[in-house]
């Protein structure tokens, strides 16, 4: 079972790819998804997180087969 990970905008460019996939584990948090997907030790404070297209926090628990997205502050409108 796995998590689909998406990166957007400047974050996508910095990481050099638009998406990744990580294996799901019980009690997994969004921060842990970030670490596994990027190889970094912690989720930067200015990175926003969404789980299944809804905003969530780094501590939020992630269900199996979820879509988790990481992106910089939004600048639409």
């Amino acid at each position: 079972m796995s998590i689909r990970v998406l990166f957007f905008a400047s974050l996508r460019e910095q990481l050099g790819r638009p998406q990744a996939e990580v294996a799901w584990q019980p009690e997994m948090t969004a921060s842990q998804v970030w670490c596994l997907a990027t190889g970094q030790t912690r989720l930067p404070g200015n990175v926003l997180v969404a789980c299944n297209q809804e905003y969530c926090r780094g501590e939020s628990l992630i269900d199996d087969a979820a879509e988790v997205a990481f992106f910089p502050p939004v600048t639409g409108g």
Binding site: L6, F8, A9, S10, A50, Q53, E54, Y55, E67, A69, F71, P72, P73, V74, T75, G76, G77
Partner: protein, 147 residues
């Protein structure tokens, strides 16, 4: 009546508004107030000349966020109708980026609701702007202007 669309191509706000009001469910005598905001691309930002811009988004989330924020505003301000358009893709100075139009019985609710939709959209909807400066270099817009 709610009409929300993310546009891959350019749109003309006045044409969108005229078309929306021709819908049979649009009862012209019901709403006394129509507040509209159009955001267009400026040719300057942070002191630099900007010659073009690309708008990226997270399509599945954009749709959900826009639906949610419009629905909450409709309920809170008892709006009759909302029309919302947001561009993505490659745009030029002067091109419309966003159109928010709300119809209500009275003007106070209309002004407040239009502004709330714009502020919530700016803070929550997953769009990102990348500017092309006059020397051809690319720059991500890091934050929105305070509202």
């Amino acid at each position: 009546m709610l009409d929300i669309q993310v546009c891959e191509q350019g749109f003309d706000p006045w044409h969108e508004l005229a078309t929306f009001q021709q819908h049979p469910d649009f009862a012209a005598g019901k709403s006394g107030a129509n507040a509209v905001f159009v955001g267009t691309m400026r040719d300057f930002n942070e002191g630099d000349t900007v010659q073009a811009m690309t708008l990226e988004h997270y399509p599945a989330m954009t749709t959900r966020q826009l639906q949610t924020l419009v629905q909450e505003t409709v309920t809170r301000f008892r709006l009759d109708h909302v029309l919302l358009r947001h561009r993505v893709g490659a745009i030029r100075p002067g091109d419309p980026i966003v159109l928010v139009a709300v119809w209500s019985a009275h003007r106070a609710a209309g002004f407040d609701a239009c502004r709330q939709i714009m502020e919530t959209l700016k803070h929550n909807a997953p769009f990102w702007k990348r500017e092309t400066l006059s020397d051809g270099s690319l720059r991500w817009v890091e934050r929105n202007t305070a509202g």
